[in-house]
Symmetry: C2
Subunit: 215 residues, 2 copies
């Protein structure tokens, strides 16, 4: 059941992206009282080849048994553990606009694996309020708060034109990984992990696939 | 300057995802009055190898000139055209919660290439209101409205447990492409394009990269 470090390093991104989907489905199945589930059954639900299912789930270290399948409880537990969703991965969020607000609401409804402990903004009408359970603080308080807390993850939902500046501040505050929702390409030290999630990029892919389908 | 159909079909997804970033940067440069720009300059800003820049931008049909580079105006125009961002790609949105609201606000601030013309929800406190310029309508009106309008794109930001049902309704309403923000794996006819953009998946990738970096 232990995940070896070697295993973890080799997990390809497409597999990683699929894992929360498995977890979501398996949690639902577990709630329904299903004790065991086979790879073909999982594959059918998730529209994924059973061979791929076996390969994907192997990263958790859990193996299915012939004619029985996977133990649902064991698999859920291992997926949560592997994804780090059972840990409290604390994060700051900068930019409590619409997208920031959506993400704060999202994390309270869904298993995001990340707990936003404070949001920062420069807009005085937002400062001092709570979004869900998350307080919105004055941006300058970031420096003070990061001294006291050891937060390694930051979510960047600022306007594009201040993204670089804010990202540099975050790095100076000890942040190691930035989830960047802006269109800015961040120029940061190489050891900083940047995950770009620009909505425009996904829209571009969708539009292109739609156009291609018409040919 | 014309994009051949053949060319379009062969564009790999990573390139497609980068194109809005190029466009965003080039629009900024164009505003500053820069007439020409070289691939190495673009690459430096976007932290991308110049060879990759040349390859990526080649999909638009625009070629740089030796010692001069690309014409900024021509390149912006061609990128917009290629991405379909100069067209009005009308879309419905179902689920005017936080994420739906964020996307509606987002499209008014940024080049998303998609114009949400109406949002639908079952929550009476939302129905009849506007989010930005977008009206929120009663969910049942979807069927009536889709008869009158030829909308091919839908954004799905409902709770997970109703996603499949709503997606089926959308397909029955003539929608050809669904941008799915839920964790549900949608089971739809094969000709329907589904773009899955689950926040949990991106969080999983970020957390894994952060953990890997600590080894």
């Amino acid at each position: 059941m232990n995940v070896t470090r070697k295993n973890k390093k080799q997990v390809p991104e497409p597999t990683l992206r699929r894992l929360p989907g498995y977890l979501f489905f398996l949690e639902k199945v577990r709630e329904q009282g299903v004790m065991n589930i086979s790879a073909p059954t999982i594959g059918k639900e998730l529209k994924c080849d059973p061979t791929q299912v076996v390969k994907d789930l192997a990263v958790t270290g859990v193996k299915g048994k012939p004619r029985v399948g996977y133990n649902t409880y064991e698999l859920c537990h291992s997926l949560e553990e592997f994804l780090g969703f059972n840990h409290l991965n604390e994060a700051f969020l900068v930019g409590a606009g619409n997208l920031g607000t959506a993400l704060m609401a999202y994390q309270e409804q869904q298993t995001l694996g990340i707990k936003i402990i404070a949001a920062f903004d420069v807009d005085e009408s937002k400062i001092g309020k709570h979004i869900g359970n998350t307080p919105v603080l004055e941006y300058n308080k970031l420096f003070h708060l990061s001294n006291r807390l050891d937060v390694e993850i930051a979510i960047l939902t600022t306007p594009n034109n201040v993204a670089q500046e804010v990202a540099e501040d975050l790095v100076n505050c000890g942040v190691k990984a930035i989830w960047n929702f802006t269109l800015s390409i961040l120029d940061l030290p190489e050891n900083i992990i940047v995950q770009n999630t620009s909505m425009s990029s996904f829209a571009a892919v969708l539009l292109q696939r739609l156009n291609d389908s018409k040919k």
